[in-house]
């Protein structure tokens, strides 16, 4: 299942860093997101778009994750040559990621 079926997302920017949220539509799906949408997996999924580290912040009260993607905006919003300088469409890329809904979330929260 693609993340788009289970969560929504919005991307923002600051300098050369993209910040992308991932919010579960239903609180019951949050443990699955925490388990499977790790910072490492997001970094792999985004590939060469992200040049630096990916950090993940957990916000259980909102059933949400916040991903901070460093070196992801072509040298910075005000210097980038990209069509989408601000990386606003990156939320759509995140929602295109596949996760395995058959897998039960592990009892320990995966570390970012």
């Amino acid at each position: 299942m693609k993340l788009r079926d289970m969560a929504h997302s919005r991307a923002g920017d600051k300098g050369n860093t993209s910040c992308v949220s991932l919010i579960a539509y239903h609180a019951r799906d949050y443990p699955l997101l925490v388990d499977q949408v790790t910072a490492d997996r997001v970094k792999v999924w985004f590939g060469s778009i992200v040049g630096g580290a990916v950090l993940r912040y957990e916000v259980p009260g909102l059933s949400a994750l916040n991903f901070v993607l460093h070196d992801a905006l072509g040298g910075g919003v005000t210097r980038s040559l990209a069509v989408d300088r601000h990386g606003k469409s990156l939320s759509s890329l995140l929602l295109d990621m596949e996760i395995d809904v058959g897998a039960a979330p592990s009892s320990e929260i995966a570390s970012p």
């Binding site: 949220s21 009260g61 919003v77």
Partner: protein, 435 residues
């Protein structure tokens, strides 16, 4: 203003580069440098202010808050108001004193600001809400600022209304949550949210702007006009709450470090959404300064191909232009080839253009875009020229060629101790000033 029973109306109008551009305008015309839409917006709301106690706070002052204030007084006179106090908050412009900061390292690259000293165009500190609070306490009806931090436009009035002090970190965090939710146009009201089939939002053409009620405890209740389009739900609020804040427990502002990690978002079932439990910690004591500087020129050229073989022809065009750059010895700091409709947003990730093309996946039309950065305008212009030359010298049936050149105005940032930024308030009065 007529239906929302407002105490304050906030116009938050600055993006990262806006103030650098506004500063350039002021260089050409000393009376200019405030938001180009100021007249449009203010002339409409000033008439509605008659007979109502609604105050306005805005950063539309941009590079010239005093000029903006003068212009508003003039508009108020024309709107038939008899009495109005407009406060202009200045001091965010630290360009005159930039020599003190040239050794500082930029947040983006860690290099000293000195490196770009000769190309600097503007320098503005993100200031907090304190002067807004002061201006309101001194009877201002309208407060116009420069580069105030966005949430401070809301924090200032809230602190004034509840008489709180600027070391009440927890309350500042709560007020910052309100300010953050009100930022970015209609985003909290279903703007930038719709995804047909997944997230439906009615009447985007008539979307409403958010209204927030804040109480003594710092709890925010968001509401929407019944007649407006858009949508206010826990989901729209969550998206805006988390927007651009990075670490939710540490959202840095000039007035404090807000903590949104324990925030609750609740739908009480009456059309409003209640946001509570934000917190805060002491401010860092440093202010971010955005420094605008010229960084060469950007040149772009685009051309479209359609039908069978569109991508193949676009790839041929790209390769042709690439070889033309080499053959003509064109010196570019950076160049980029995008296939809009195919890989221009996420292509870096898939590397599809370099790999095999799957005939079943071929798009019906493709727009090739070539973009590059050069030190001179002449070099940047060559990019668009080479793409336009494809009209006669490139692959078959290319259409809609366009070219663009513009100077690149980049922004870098440094942190300065807050004592280095001295804000001032200038009061302008129409009619008798309020004591």
């Amino acid at each position: 203003m007529t239906h929302g029973d407002l105490d304050y109306l906030i116009f938050e109008c600055l993006a990262e580069r806006t103030i650098a551009l506004a500063h350039q305008q002021k260089q050409r015309d000393a009376g200019a440098g405030y938001d180009a839409m100021l007249t449009y917006r203010m002339s409409r709301v000033l008439a509605a202010m008659r007979g109502r106690r609604v105050r306005i706070v805005s950063n539309m002052g941009a590079a010239n808050p005093v000029g903006a204030a003068r212009h508003i007084i003039q508009l108020a006179r024309e709107a038939g108001l008899r009495r109005l106090r407009v406060a202009a908050v200045t001091g965010d412009d630290v360009l005159p004193r930039l020599s003190r900061f040239l050794e500082m390292r930029t947040l983006e690259t860690g290099e000293p600001l000195n490196r770009i000293a000769g190309r600097i165009l503007s320098a503005n500190a993100y200031t907090g809400g304190r002067r807004i609070t002061e201006a309101l306490a001194n009877g201002s009806d309208i407060v116009i600022t420069g580069r105030t931090a966005d949430p401070a436009l809301t924090l200032g009035p809230i602190m004034h209304e509840f008489g709180r002090s600027y070391d009440d970190w927890d309350f500042i965090g709560k007020a910052t949550a309100a300010g953050h939710l009100l930022e970015c146009g209609s985003q909290v009201m279903g703007g930038y949210f719709a995804d047909p089939g997944y997230k439906e939002v009615p009447d985007l053409w008539n979307i409403g702007f958010p209204i927030a009620q804040i109480d003594e405890q710092g709890t925010t209740r968001l509401e929407k006009l019944a007649t407006a389009g858009g949508q206010l739900t826990c989901a729209t609020v969550k998206e805006q709450l988390l927007y651009e804040i990075q670490d939710p427990a540490s959202y840095l502002t000039p007035d404090g470090i807000a903590d949104f990690s324990k925030v609750t978002v609740h739908d009480p079932g009456d059309g409003t959404i209640v946001v509570a439990n934000a917190g805060g910690r002491p401010k860092t004591g440093s202010l971010k300064v955005s420094v605008g500087y010229q960084d060469g020129y950007v040149g772009e050229g685009e051309i479209s191909y359609g039908g069978a073989g569109a991508l193949s022809r676009a790839r041929l065009a790209a390769e042709t232009v690439r070889r033309r750059f080499v053959a003509t010895g064109l010196s570019l700091d950076e160049v980029r080839f995008d296939f809009i409709g195919y890989n221009s947003l996420f292509g870096g990730r898939t590397g599809v253009v370099e790999g095999e093309i799957d005939a079943c996946q071929e798009p019906g039309e493709i727009r090739l875009r070539v973009a590059g950065r050069a030190e001179t305008e002449a070099a940047a212009s060559a990019i668009g020229r080479e793409v336009e030359a494809l009209y006669t010298n490139g692959p078959a049936a290319g259409g809609g060629a366009r070219s663009y050149v513009q100077p690149m105005l980049a922004i870098t940032s440094i942190l300065v101790p807050e004592d280095e930024v001295v804000e001032e308030i200038t009061y302008l009065d129409l009619g008798d000033p309020v004591q």
